[in-house]
């Protein structure tokens, strides 16, 4: 029954119960709001953290960073926030929900994603200007779209996209189904997509490096464990899990 109640709570507000508030012991539940692009690496880190600290349980609410920031701003009870963009972290720090300064724990860069075999023979960013190719990009309103805009500006290419998707995973779906010839996504997404998608690195990717900040929340129901989890992500063990997923070390 408690599981059901907690599950409903997580669905409603992305929150969970933490029963050990006030103690400095690393134990109990810790709720982490994390960017969707961290799903694979943080799930793994969570398991490693639980193994290293018996008695703890890490719960995740993965989602778009801006959506998570809005939930936190509206009072969703969480212990840690890991954002895919400093701007969304700033949204949360501005409301005073975070006391400690956020720290950058990972970096992500864009890569060209093409379907297996690269049927349209895309070689670089310049191909994105060709109107006869099907191109998918993230909409400018979301972080991967803002990053795409930067690299096109740096490369002096006027992209001719056929669709501007609402998140990076939607772009990736279109690539893996072969519906588009090329797209810009994060390096980590290409890696997570497996065999259906191939990644092509390009020189201008360095013009739009995306920093991932993490911080424990001021009103964390389980402050001690929240801090311990943040330290764990920043540790050598955390770094190796993140680089394995395709992130760059800060």
């Amino acid at each position: 029954m408690r599981g059901v109640v907690v599950g409903v709570a997580v669905l409603l507000a992305g929150c969970a119960t933490g029963q050990t508030s006030g103690t400095s012991e690393v134990t109990g539940d810790v709720t982490v709001f994390a960017a969707a692009s961290l799903t694979e690496s943080f799930t793994r880190l969570g398991q490693e953290f639980e193994a290293a600290h018996p008695g703890t349980e890490v719960r995740f609410n993965f989602g778009g960073s801006s959506a998570l920031a809005q939930q936190l701003g509206n009072g969703a009870p969480a212990d840690v926030f890991a954002s895919a963009a400093p701007a969304n972290m700033k949204q949360v720090t501005d409301t005073g929900t975070i006391t400690a300064a956020p720290r950058t724990f990972a970096r992500n860069t864009l890569q060209i994603a093409v379907p297996k075999g690269n049927p349209a023979k895309i070689a670089g960013l310049a191909d994105f200007a060709k109107t006869d190719l099907k191109i998918a990009l993230c909409a400018e309103q979301v972080p991967c779209g803002a990053a795409s805009k930067k690299v096109f500006a740096a490369a002096g290419v006027t992209a001719a996209p056929d669709t501007l998707e609402q998140d990076v995973k939607a772009v990736l779906t279109k690539v893996s189904l072969g519906e588009v010839d090329g797209a810009l996504v994060y390096k980590t997404d290409v890696k997570a997509a497996g065999d259906e998608v191939e990644g092509i690195t390009f020189a201008e990717a360095g013009k739009a490096v995306n920093d991932y900040p993490i911080a424990p929340l001021a009103k964390a129901p389980n402050a001690a464990t929240a801090t311990a989890f943040v330290e764990f992500v920043l540790s050598e063990q955390g770094r190796s899990a993140l680089t394995a997923a395709g992130f760059d070390a800060p």
Binding site: D162, L164, Q166, E179
Partner: protein
């Protein structure tokens, strides 16, 4: 079947209280939207892009409704009047898009009508037609999600209609097609209208299947719901304004229909 019984007298509290709570649950969020609307900045937020998205939404929803009428009425007739075996199962299948998460519908459409899809690859190879990322794709996505509303509504009307008029027409020598056009269709017209309006409203609000199958490109596939979603990322005020516009259009249409879609055919 359609005689109305009005129970007069004291309304039982045990029914009235939850009813009022239910009403509040449905209406308060909508009222909240109106309260939070930045009315003063309204003209500034209603940019050309909004006009474009609204125009596209209205056109696509209308075309999707036409598509649903053309295919949905015969389908409803098949479900209601033909002696087809397994009609119950067929009816259940027709309603699947109603309960399917729209994103799943969009993926299914991509797998069938996409450039690499089962049917789509031939459309592309033989005719050079590619539906994803086109306005036609929006219409198809909306029609896929909205058609069950029309079919259910028309089928219900057909079942409720008195078949004796059709029988009379048949005994007078009318063909089945003539009977359908001159007798059946006029008798279920309120059901068709109600279904078409529901279908149109659903198509207007369609988001998941549209963005998955047709993508999002201003002027071509960006309908109002897509514009709302993306505006929310950077400009919540603009998103609220877009939502209000969409809400007013939807309520306007449903109000225009009044109680016709609630009451059955008379």
């Amino acid at each position: 079947m359609t005689t109305r019984h009005r129970v007069r007298g004291r309304l039982p509290v045990v029914l009235v209280l939850p009813a009022l709570a239910g009403l509040a649950f449905l209406l308060v969020p909508l009222a909240g939207l109106l309260v939070k609307t930045p009315w003063a900045n309204l003209p500034a937020l209603l940019s050309a892009e909004v006009g474009e998205a609204l125009r596209l939404s209205l056109i696509c929803a209308s075309l999707a409704t036409v598509l649903c009428l053309v295919f949905g009425i015969p389908l409803a007739w098949l479900l209601a009047r033909s002696g087809l075996p397994g009609r119950g199962f067929l009816r259940a299948l027709v309603t699947v898009p109603l309960v399917l998460p729209p994103v799943v519908g969009g993926v299914a459409l991509l797998l069938v009508l996409g450039r690499r899809g089962l049917v789509g690859q031939h459309l592309d190879a033989w005719f050079g037609i590619s539906l994803p990322f086109t306005t036609a794709g929006v219409v198809i996505a909306e029609a896929f999600v909205a058609m069950p509303f029309l079919v259910i509504s028309v089928e219900g009307a057909l079942r409720a209609a008195d078949p004796r008029y059709e029988e009379a027409a048949a005994t007078l020598g009318a063909s089945r097609w003539l009977t359908f056009r001159r007798v059946t269709l006029p008798s279920v017209l309120p059901g068709v209208v109600a279904g078409a309006v529901l279908c149109w409203a659903r198509a207007l609000g369609e988001f998941g299947a549209t963005i998955t199958f047709a993508g999002n490109f201003p002027g071509e596939t960006t309908t109002m719901p897509l514009a709302v979603y993306l505006a929310l990322e950077t400009d919540p005020d603009a998103a609220i304004v877009l939502s209000v516009v969409l809400l007013l259009v939807s309520v306007g249409v449903l109000a225009g229909l009044r109680d016709r879609w609630i009451s059955g055919p008379s």
